[in-house]
């Protein structure tokens, strides 16, 4: 079991919502990964759809580069749409 590949599991909780990453598990292939995801992550009615992706297929950003990757965005407040006056009639923004 230790050499089973790792899979990332994404669950969509309701129709109309997006799939969200909820965890990972081990399985020998995609079919088993789906079945395992059903048993591990949807036991309490959490989902209506499951995606599984081999973890090896995910390309991740390098945490060592977090400074140059993310910090420049932290002081650019003007990129947030908070400088507009919203009319009172506009709801749900």
């Amino acid at each position: 079991m230790n050499n089973w590949p790792l899979w990332e599991v994404f669950i969509r909780s309701k129709n109309g919502l997006e799939h969200r990453h909820c965890g990972s598990l081990h399985a020998t292939d995609a079919t088993m990964a789906l079945e395992n995801a059903r048993d591990v992550y949807t036991r309490r009615g959490e989902g209506v759809s499951i995606w599984v992706v081999p973890s090896s297929q995910i390309t991740a950003s390098n945490p060592e580069h977090n400074g140059e990757t993310f910090e420049p965005a932290l002081d650019k407040v003007y990129r947030h749409p908070t400088f507009y006056e919203l009319p009172d009639e506009l709801k749900h923004m």
Binding site: H26, T28, D39
Partner: protein
Amino acid sequence: MSNSKINYILGIADNALILGQRLSELCGHGPSLETDIATTNIALDLLGQTRSYYQYAAELQGGEATEDTLAFLRKEREYKNVLLVEQPNTDFGYVMARQYMFDVFHLLLLEQLQNSNDEVLAAIAKKSIKEVSYHKRFSGDWIKRLGDGTEESHNRMQEAFDNLWTFTNELFLMTADDTAMVEAGVGVDVAALKAAWTQEITALLTEATLTVPDLKYFLKGGKEGIHSEHMGFILTEMQYMQRTYPNMTW
């Protein structure tokens, strides 16, 4: 209310209870975290179904009977489960072979039982069909993987079928209560399920590159309360709390 009906319900319930108890022994001991939780889920499905049947049987029996007294306070001879479900978890191959052979039978039974003229039984059957369909898919997939896997997994899967095959014929034996309930339009003619069961098992075993065992002599007795040597140990563990601390609750 006729004893036949109560006995009939207990027969169906006891199969699910004892198999559920066997599977729950794997909780925390499964071959991997994922299969551990999967077999525990199946155990919980079966125990959930068991509750519906025992509640109904207790209602029919009346008096002091409850789902708990039926599940926990009967003696070995009073349990009517088939011998197959009480066989031990020798290895994961045995667990899956036992499961698949029971699942195929269980689904065929429920598909008929949902047409019972007893509305409660029909409703329980209807609700259980989705659960049992998944059980069968899970166990069937594993048999294909292991049968058509490595030389060792193939041999161990074959050994499990060879050794458990002797318990399969009992699934299709009709007790006097079975016959009475079929005549009353309540129960299922299990003898008539054998052809479909054999066909389905043969197809899967062939796909899994396994051989269907060829056996002329079969064991029986569980449905009449005559169990294998394993049953006493199962009940000892299962009934320990109620026997040691009568009426305890939590």
